[in-house]
């Protein structure tokens, strides 16, 4: 390997900030391209699962004008004084949802293989926002997470590695870090403010809220197993959740605490995906954790003579 080829290659547009902000290293430092590529692939896999497992089998029920949907079913969402929008309001009910679904799925496949991720990411985002707004009743917080993830992979130069448009370079490939930093701030806010609302709740303070959630015959996917756990386990899970959520940004600042917090986060989302009817919220949240895996080390390891 020549010395020239081992030089890091930077791909993308480095943001310019005024004055002292221009020295904000945390925001401006680039990140290894493999991290953002892994995020892109994880988001694409989750989107395809969401579309083909969670949506397509019931597609007509969800978006048909004679069922739960239709472009005019939820007019209040688009009332004056607000800025919600949906491409489906400009397309006919007869074929619009199907066409947009096909476009959405195609763009998600494009993200999966890394083909024009800026375009595919923005198309996915526009389709996701359109479906989110036209029938918001079908959604939970996972849809807002999905929207944020699509924007991050669109603006993150996520095709610089592991894709059909990846740069051929024998050394380290770096991309602008701000899209994943913005995503990190979004997740920190999600966790911290969730924790604050929980902290203000009597049910969360006593811990009994998780006992009732885990025994709810609709919200819980495995209520038969919940009864096997002692009450204190349900209560402790509520307290651990609050501490982890509120402490998440602080834990990230310390190396060992970071590993524990990230491991706990991935475990939390995986377990709630299997045991609670939170569906795509847990799925997309899990995708976010792909950026924390040091994928570039494997590449560096493989490149060693």
């Amino acid at each position: 390997m020549s010395a020239a080829s081992a030089e890091p290659l930077f791909v993308g547009v480095q943001p310019r900030l005024p004055g002292a902000l221009g020295r904000w290293r945390w925001l401006l430092a680039p990140v290894p391209a493999e991290r953002v590529a892994a995020l892109r692939i994880a988001v694409a896999v989750c989107a395809l699962l969401d579309l083909f497992v969670g949506t397509l089998p019931q597609f007509h029920s969800y978006y048909g004008a004679d069922a739960l949907g239709g472009s005019g079913a939820f007019e209040s969402r688009f009332r004056a004084g607000h800025h919600y929008w949906s491409l489906l309001r400009t397309l006919p009910d007869k074929w619009g949802p199907q066409a947009l679904f096909a476009l959405f799925a195609s763009a998600a496949c494009g993200l999966l293989i890394g083909w024009r991720p800026l375009v595919c990411g923005l198309v996915c985002w526009a389709c996701a926002v359109s479906f989110w707004n036209v029938n918001n009743g079908l959604c939970n917080g996972g849809d807002q997470v999905r929207n944020a993830l699509f924007l991050a992979v669109a603006f993150g130069n996520s095709g610089a590695a592991w894709g059909v448009n990846a740069r051929c370079h024998r050394g380290t490939v770096l991309v602008p870090g701000w899209p994943v930093k913005a995503l990190l701030v979004q997740f920190c806010c999600l966790y911290v403010f969730s924790g604050i609302y929980k902290l203000m709740s009597n049910g969360w303070q006593t811990g009994y809220v998780m006992y009732f959630v885990n025994h709810d015959l609709e919200w819980c996917l495995t209520p038969n197993l919940s009864a096997l756990l002692p009450v204190w386990v349900h209560r402790a899970s509520a307290w651990v959740t609050i501490v982890w959520e509120i402490g998440f940004p602080v834990f990230l600042a310390f190396r060992r605490a970071r590993l524990v917090a990230l491991g706990l986060g991935a475990f939390f989302h995986a377990v709630t995906f299997i045991t609670l009817e939170v569906g795509h919220f847990a799925l997309y949240s899990l995708a976010f954790y792909a950026v924390f895996v040091p994928w570039e080390r494997w590449r560096n390891h493989a490149a060693r003579p």
Binding site: Q14, R16, P30, Y62, F74, H83, Q186, W204, W219, H280
Partner: protein, 250 residues
């Protein structure tokens, strides 16, 4: 997240400045949008329909009209960005509390030929004392739709009936969801009227003895919908009568 020491110098062109502005805004937006939910604002008619946001604090934070208005305009800007980009904030799942019962929505269909039928939610447990497991994700979006309806009746109990005079207002706020769900559940039945009923299955309390019988289930009439006219009525549990809901335009 690992940091690279190689931070390239940004070019002195328009695009890097625009990217910089977007980067700053995207980092600041979630923090500001969530913080502003704790800053009380005066509700406008746009805020009231279909319902007031449960996470936004309502009222005033200062006696100064200028300061109050400035805060509200800043809040408007954050809301507009959240709505345009799909990055709405407000993370308050399972708060302020979770009910000690399962709430199952039921559609009771009255047909023109005099027949009546009940159409239960897909998620209604067949045997509450021997529940089975379900697959994740498969029907998650349908579950969300129903949960968004049943949530407004989460904390009802027969003992608290006299405190539920606000039920018609909650039905009115959620009229689009209620109407769409009743329409879907009664499709193809020839219904002249479809009623939404909440069926409550109490959860065993944490201090109940193992194997203790579950407390009896109970129901609440919530809304009735007339397919021919599209009219919707809501039940007032305090006055024990049906209240016609006036058509409201957004």
């Amino acid at each position: 997240m690992a940091q690279s020491p190689h931070a390239p110098r940004a070019a002195a062109a328009v695009l890097p400045w625009l990217v910089g502005a977007l980067a700053l805004w995207q980092v600041a937006f979630p923090v500001l949008a969530n913080l502003f939910e704790f800053v009380p604002r005066r509700a406008t008619p746009e805020d009231h329909f279909p319902e007031l946001s449960p996470t936004q604090r309502w009222g005033r934070f200062t006696r100064s009209d200028a300061l109050q208005s400035a805060g509200e305009r800043a809040g408007d800007l954050l809301s507009a960005w959240g709505e345009l980009t799909g990055l709405d904030q407000g993370w308050n799942m399972f708060t302020p509390d979770f009910p000690p019962h399962t709430v199952v929505p039921v559609a009771e269909v009255y047909c023109a030929d005099g027949r009546t039928a009940r159409v239960w939610s897909r998620f209604a447990p067949r045997a509450p004392d021997a529940p089975g497991a379900r697959w994740p994700l498969v029907h998650d979006r349908e579950f969300n739709f129903e949960a968004n309806i049943t949530m407004f009746g989460w904390h009802y109990s027969p003992e608290a009936r006299r405190e539920w005079g606000h039920l018609p207002a909650r039905v009115s706020e959620n009229r689009e969801l209620v109407r769409a769900w009743l329409n879907w559940k009664s499709r193809g039945t020839g219904a002249r009227e479809a009623r939404l009923i909440f069926h409550y299955i109490p959860t065993r309390l944490p201090n109940d003895a193992p194997g203790a019988p579950r407390r009896p289930s109970y129901e609440l009439q919530v809304a009735k919908w007339f397919p021919a006219t599209g009219a919707l009525e809501a039940f007032d549990p305090v006055a024990a009568r049906w209240v016609p809901l006036k058509a409201r335009s957004p």
